[in-house]
Amino acid sequence: MTNYVVRRLLIAIPSLLGISVILFTVLALAPGDPFEELATNPAIPPDVRAALRASLGLDDPVWTRYFSWLTAMLRGDWGYSFVSRVNVDQLILARLPTTLAIIGASQVLALAIALPVGVMAATRPYSVFDQVANTLAFIGFSLPTFFTGLLLILLFSITLDWLPFVYRADLTSTGWTWWGEQIRQSIMPVAVLGLFQGAAWTRFVRSAVLDVIRLDHVTTARAKGLPEGSVTLRHVVRNALIPVVTLVALQMPTVFGGAIVTEQIFRVPGIGSLLISAILANDTPVIMAVTFVFAGLVIFFNLLADVIYGWLDPRISYS
């Protein structure tokens, strides 16, 4: 097992290097620089812009920039934002708690919906419950989040005036009022993301459970006279979970990566909105750091999923 993990980690190094080369090249090839606003301002002489570009190293050849980035990264220096003139790790860390809270809560919500509903629907296929759940799931994952987000804002903030639609990461109140305000402002973004994800997962759980429920060992378990509940939980769901775990594990990096569109709509100061504003401003070090961390997380969670397989299904072994 340890051998396996070590081997996988070693394989990850060249993958990460490859990813970083591709990311860096694509970003370097992308035109533009972070000084758009200086351009149309006659009070700023053009040579000031040129000097700024030079001071940020934007005029160096791509490979020099890549190697200076790589060596700095290996030393743990993630570079600093061209736009904010702040270290990138500081920018990311400041936004991580909000992202974890909002996206994490939405993933929990999604799981809390998908697992019970998917299993129930699969154990009673083509019943009324299954039909309704299926229809809702279809609607849920067919509607894009930017649409449902605006719809919720229109309904709950503007028409009913119940919920705020500007998320604030720095509520000044304390104690229960803080929790109250926090929940009020989180409901809409969490619901939008959670319901969308939950809908997709529901359909997935349902089909995974349906595949297992027809197998012989389930019939055997029933024939032994085991109660239906324990048949479902111990003999069906545990086996059906394997593909679901892969799916959920691969979804985990987005918990750290944020949700670009939803964060923008609700002004949630998460990693996603950091990434989009960095992209719009051509802030290469920030884009590079966020996407690279994201790539690292994808590799890590893939490994984690593989390890969990071994625990869920003793037939899979890595020795």
Binding site: A43, S84, D170, Q264
Partner: protein
């Protein structure tokens, strides 16, 4: 209006028979900007009146929270590194300049004890220096005194090329001398009619010497105070998340009485302009929303809720079209749009005149920009009442056709005009931005009816406005026949604004396309007028020179002004603010309060 009339009027102001405001208004009628009119008075010896602050300011503090929404949040808080207005505003919440520009064009003292003038000895008669007296008893938020050393330090800091500050243009060509602890003198290399640049407005915010002196030059980005500003303003820094949130709390020992009104200041960033407008005008979650780049129809609908209003502050920003003087398609001497070439068809004044007649500016105002874009005939632009009387615009397709017919451009089989084998076929580029694409469509349609074929091209803003030398689509390269964008006029004086057409600023390969004269236009008369204005201490003559420059460039039709771009913002009805197009949104934040 002749020079004599002007002199008489200045005399009346000096004798007190004409108010300064009345003077400014009369100047407006002949096309002079308010700031120019004011400087004109200052240099002619009619001292600017003391600051005329808002009349009904409440005599109390404790106004609760002021919540402001920026759909692009401030990303840094050092005024010398502030790339965009959002960053300058973020910095301005904590740092202050010596003086700010009010909307009527007067200078208002902030950290200065008074505005320099000829009477108080602040302005030298030869125009080579200006002496600022600093307000005494001003303290930084950490309790240290604000003195002349701080002002001198800001000059040293900004002019150092290693600092790579964006304000360096205002400081590198001047010399700043400490006269005593509360007096500084700014010395110019040559007579300078526009003296209020360094230490004034968005360029003049002061950072404290005691916190930044160890972080000059290359070390500037390591200063801890870059993210935790210690300024002199009415609000002390409490929290900052780049791109997201900025918070401050009232500074109890602020140097202006009864100010600030609010207990806390919150500036939230992110999102989009439309929902920011909603958060103020519809739900009232926020007091003020910045830069409402929203269709006017939507703003009007939101305003109908009766909760808030849309503020339109006219400034110098202008959306305009450029017609190339050079040939952008063929390399001459190894360079496209080389100075040794001329544009095959646009060099014909008749073609340019026809194109100018095909721009339906009234339609642009009415159907695209609304209140956010009043149609105009001037490049050097001001509020509507400030327009130069010498220019006018017209939309007339029939007349355009007549002119082209008379000039010998005949329609081919496909309806496109041509003369000597040169077809009237142009590429018209701009940045991606909905109103701009709609404008392109309007002009393309009109041109079609006059036998001119226009191919529209839209470039992502971050590319179009970049200084990337390797990219062919930047606006400074101008490798197309026609292009359109907005140029802003952040300074209250037209000198820097009007250098966009002098011949020594031509954008070429040799200067990496950094020149400001993007159309590569050359006019000896314009050059001479500009040179004269640069050193002209007589404000009346100087004013006439700038008007002449405007008329020259607009008259050439190489530049077709379309609509002015006032700053548009939204605020709650209960908020009383003070805005100025010549200064930052937060330029007069200390005067903001809530109506009782």
């Amino acid at each position: 209006m002749t020079e004599d009339d002007l002199r008489q009027m200045i005399g009346r102001v000096q004798r007190g028979t004409l108010t300064r405001r009345g003077f400014v208004r009369r100047m407006a009628a002949v096309g002079l900007t308010a700031p120019m009119a004011t400087q004109l008075l200052a240099i002619a010896g009619a001292a600017p009146a003391a600051a005329q602050t808002a009349s009904a300011y409440p005599s109390r503090r404790g106004g609760g929270a002021l919540k402001v929404l920026y759909w692009q949040g401030a990303t840094l808080l050092n005024p010398h590194f502030a790339v965009g207005t959002k960053d300058q505003d973020g910095s301005r919440a904590f740092y202050e300049p010596l003086a700010g520009w009010a909307q009527d064009g007067t200078l208002e003292p902030i950290l200065a004890a008074e505005i320099p003038s000829r009477e108080n000895g602040g302005l030298a008669a030869d125009g080579r220096s200006v002496t600022w007296k600093l307000k005494r008893g001003v303290k930084w938020h950490d309790g240290q005194d604000f003195t002349a050393d701080d002002a001198v330090f800001n000059w040293e800091y900004a002019k150092d090329p290693a600092t790579a500050s964006v304000t360096t243009g205002s400081y590198r060509d001047v010399n700043v001398v400490k006269v005593d602890d509360y007096t500084v003198r700014v010395e110019f290399q040559k007579p300078t009619p526009f003296w209020a640049d360094a230490f004034v407005g968005s360029r003049g915010m002061m950072i404290p010497k005691h916190l930044f002196k160890d972080y000059m030059g290359a070390k500037s980005r390591e200063a801890p105070a870059n993210l935790r500003p210690v300024g002199t303003s009415g609000y002390k820094f409490s929290e900052f998340q780049p791109g997201d949130m900025l918070r401050g709390e009232a500074n109890a020992s602020y140097h202006m009485p009864n100010r600030p009104f609010f207990d806390t200041l919150e500036v939230k960033g992110g999102g989009d302009a439309v929902s920011a407008a909603r958060a103020v005008l519809q739900t009232g979650e926020f007091d003020y929303a910045w830069n409402m780049q929203v269709e006017d129809a939507i703003l009007k609908r939101l305003e109908a809720n009766g909760r808030g209003k849309v503020n339109i502050v006219p400034g110098g920003g202008i959306e305009f079209i450029q017609l190339h003087t050079r040939d952008p398609w063929n390399e001459v001497n190894g360079e496209r749009a080389s100075l040794d070439s001329t544009h095959p068809t646009l060099s014909d004044p008749k073609v340019r005149e026809a194109l100018s007649l095909l721009c339906d500016r009234n339609a642009l105002e009415q159907f695209i920009y609304g209140r956010g874009g009043p149609a105009t005939a001037n490049f050097l632009n001001n509020p509507p009442r400030f327009r130069s009387p010498n220019t006018k615009f017209e939309f007339n397709i029939a007349k355009a056709n007549e002119i082209l017919d008379a000039a010998g451009y005949t329609r081919g089989a496909d309806g496109i005009r041509a003369k000597d084998g040169k077809r009237l076929k142009f590429v018209y580029q701009t940045s991606i931005n909905t109103p701009r694409q709609r404008t392109q469509a309007v002009i393309k349609q009109a041109a079609q009816r006059a036998g001119i074929d226009i191919e529209v091209k839209a470039v992502t803003a971050s590319v179009f406005f970049s200084s990337d030398v390797a990219n062919p689509d930047t606006y400074t390269k101008f490798f197309s026949d026609i292009q359109m964008y907005t140029t802003t006029m952040p300074q209250a004086d037209p000198q820097l604004f009007m250098n966009q057409y002098v011949s020594w600023e031509m954008s070429t390969k040799a200067n990496s396309w950094q020149g400001r004269n993007i159309i590569r236009w050359k006019s000896d008369e314009y050059d001479a007028a500009y040179r004269a204005a640069e050193g002209e201490l007589d404000p009346v003559k100087r004013a006439a020179l700038f008007i002449r420059m405007n008329d020259l460039i607009v008259g050439s039709n190489h530049v077709i002004p379309l609509v002015g771009r006032p700053t548009v913002s939204a605020s709650l009805n209960t908020l009383t603010h003070k805005l100025s197009a010549w200064d930052l949104t937060f330029g007069f934040l200390h005067d903001w309060h809530r109506a009782a």
